[in-house]
């Protein structure tokens, strides 16, 4: 195969992969909103959406159409460029980190990795870099709206996201020390065997059992980072009307809404990969089943995390703002640091 046609082949395969992954991601996001409304409704002894389609299954479609056809109101005194830029930035960044997430076992199709868009050797850092830029979309949306509630929401959220980002990054350092690689595929492959003793040969060798404290720190910080209950101060309906997106309507509001769910999916994927063995699970049967079962395990694990997110929303009340900051800086950060120290000590002793 000559260079030109192989380059063309590469571009074609990449575009197909990107389109498929984006379609799956958008579908999952759409039905995540449906799932959230259903689960919260059942927690509160209601039925939730029921009229559009069987069990309200067409509700996301109806919502999407409604968002598209609503009047797009732009307040008079906004900073036009940034006001337009913020929602698109939010959505782009939220979808970008999915590019390095491996969602199935290593399988080469004509020299292309089938179940991952690209395997960076600094994949984890890429996700953190993209997440750290996500603050801007919220801060800028709050500022450019030129209105007091969005500004307060934007300020709160930037302070919150910066604070919890530190704990988020420190929480995974324990995992990195154990696995010795920054590649997400590499980190999962480290967890590929079963415990020899004590686990009766069935308990998987997930990082969760080596890093329980790291996992708790990670997940708490991740919930704060995605601005979800009980850390949803940037939105805080009762105090701030709607937070940073008060002045947004129609499709631009929908973009903020969708990016929040995309971020939830990203941190759930990351938690699965780092602590729960990614796509690893029992694999059996003919070749095609061996190929697809890992993908199924990965989706199941991510689904459990997403369900947990929704469950928390139905259960927990919101933190007060000073409690949130004190918890982040005075409890979570020292805990994450201590976890690194203890991990290092144990690794030095055990060798």
């Amino acid at each position: 195969m000559d260079t030109a046609s192989s380059l063309g082949f590469f571009v074609m395969v990449t575009i197909i992969k990107v389109v498929v992954v984006m379609l799956v991601l958008l579908t999952v996001i759409a039905y995540l909103t449906w799932l959230e409304r259903k689960v919260v409704a059942h927690i509160q002894s209601r039925w939730g959406p029921y009229l559009t389609g069987p069990h309200g299954l067409l509700q996301p479609v109806a919502d999407g159409l409604k968002f598209l056809f609503k009047e797009d109101i732009v307040p008079l005194e906004v900073d036009r460029l940034i006001y337009w830029l913020a929602p698109f930035l939010a959505f782009t960044l939220a979808c970008l980190s999915i590019a390095v997430i491996p969602f199935g076992a290593h399988y080469q199709f004509h020299g292309h990795e089938l179940f991952q868009l690209t395997d960076l050797n600094v994949g984890l850092l890429f996700v953190f870099a993209v997440t750290s830029l996500g603050v801007y979309s919220i801060a800028l949306a709050g500022w450019s709206s030129n209105s007091k509630y969005p500004l307060l929401g934007g300020l709160r959220s930037s302070a919150q996201m910066i604070s919890y980002e530190i704990s988020l990054s420190l929480a995974v350092i324990g995992v990195l020390m154990i696995s010795g690689t920054l590649s997400l595929r590499g980190i999962v492959e480290q967890q590929a065997w079963l415990w020899e003793s004590g686990g009766l040969g069935i308990l998987p060798h997930w990082n969760l059992f080596l890093q329980p404290v790291g996992f708790i720190c990670y997940f708490t910080a991740a919930v704060a980072e995605t601005n979800r209950v009980p850390f949803d101060l940037p939105e805080g309906e009762t105090e701030l009307v709607g937070g940073f997106h008060t002045e947004y309507s129609s499709f631009k509001f929908a973009l903020f809404f969708l990016s929040e769910y995309a971020n939830m999916i990203t941190v759930s994927c990351l938690a699965t990969l780092l602590f729960f063995g990614g796509w690893l699970g029992p694999v059996f049967g003919p070749g095609w089943l061996r190929l697809l079962l890992p993908v199924l395990w990965f989706f199941l694990k991510v689904f459990c995390f997403l369900f947990f997110y929704i469950w928390m929303r139905g259960t927990l009340p919101r933190f007060r703002y000073d409690q949130l900051m004190a918890f982040g800086w005075k409890f979570l950060l020292p805990l994450a640091l201590l976890n690194i120290l203890v991990t290092g000590l144990i690794m030095t002793w055990v060798g």
């Binding site: 600094v122 850092l125 953190f128 997440t131 750290s132 800028l140 709050g142 302070a159 910066i162």
Partner: protein
């Protein structure tokens, strides 16, 4: 690769000019973020993905967020041109050009146009950078971090309310 480099370099220069020339502080800060992003792309092209990611996380993701937050808090909308000193007005341009020529001259003498790029004796992976920071240059590295800590303590003391 070369096309990507020229795009990133052009973007960095245009955004850099926009940092200085824009009258609205938020736009200047945003332009600076674009500069940092373009530099990260250049690091990637040079085969240093770790440095590129750290550049985005630390500078664009942490430090610039603080800048943007302060600008938002002050709600600075438009810079008013103040009475500049006459000295700066007349000497600024020539001094800038002199500095630019000096740097260009130094670079040209170091790396003549015809020469191949110098071989880098360093892999861009995290392990070798960690080795450099924590083995070879551990003393300067730690001294720098203590310096930053001292500066931070000083800021806290100065900002503290008098009892």
């Amino acid at each position: 690769m070369a096309i990507l480099f020229y795009i990133a370099a052009a973007l960095a220069i245009v955004a850099g000019l926009s940092v200085i020339l824009h009258r609205t502080p938020v736009y200047s800060a945003l332009s600076l973020i674009v500069v940092l992003g373009a530099l990260a792309v250049i690091y990637l092209l040079l085969g240093a993905p770790f440095i590129a990611m750290i550049q985005v996380i630390v500078y664009a993701g942490a430090i610039m967020v603080l800048f943007v937050m302060v600008i938002m808090l002050l709600n600075a909308h438009r810079e008013q041109p103040i009475d500049r000193s006459r000295f700066a007005h007349y000497l600024g341009g020539p001094v800038l050009i002199a500095l630019l020529v000096e740097i260009l001259f130094a670079v040209w003498r170091q790396f003549p146009v015809s020469s191949t790029p110098p071989a880098v004796g360093l892999e861009g992976d995290p392990a070798s950078i960690g080795h450099l920071l924590f083995r070879t240059y551990v003393l300067p590295f730690e001294v720098t971090s203590i310096l930053i800590l001292v500066a931070m303590l000083g800021a806290v003391i100065l900002a503290k309310k008098q009892p």
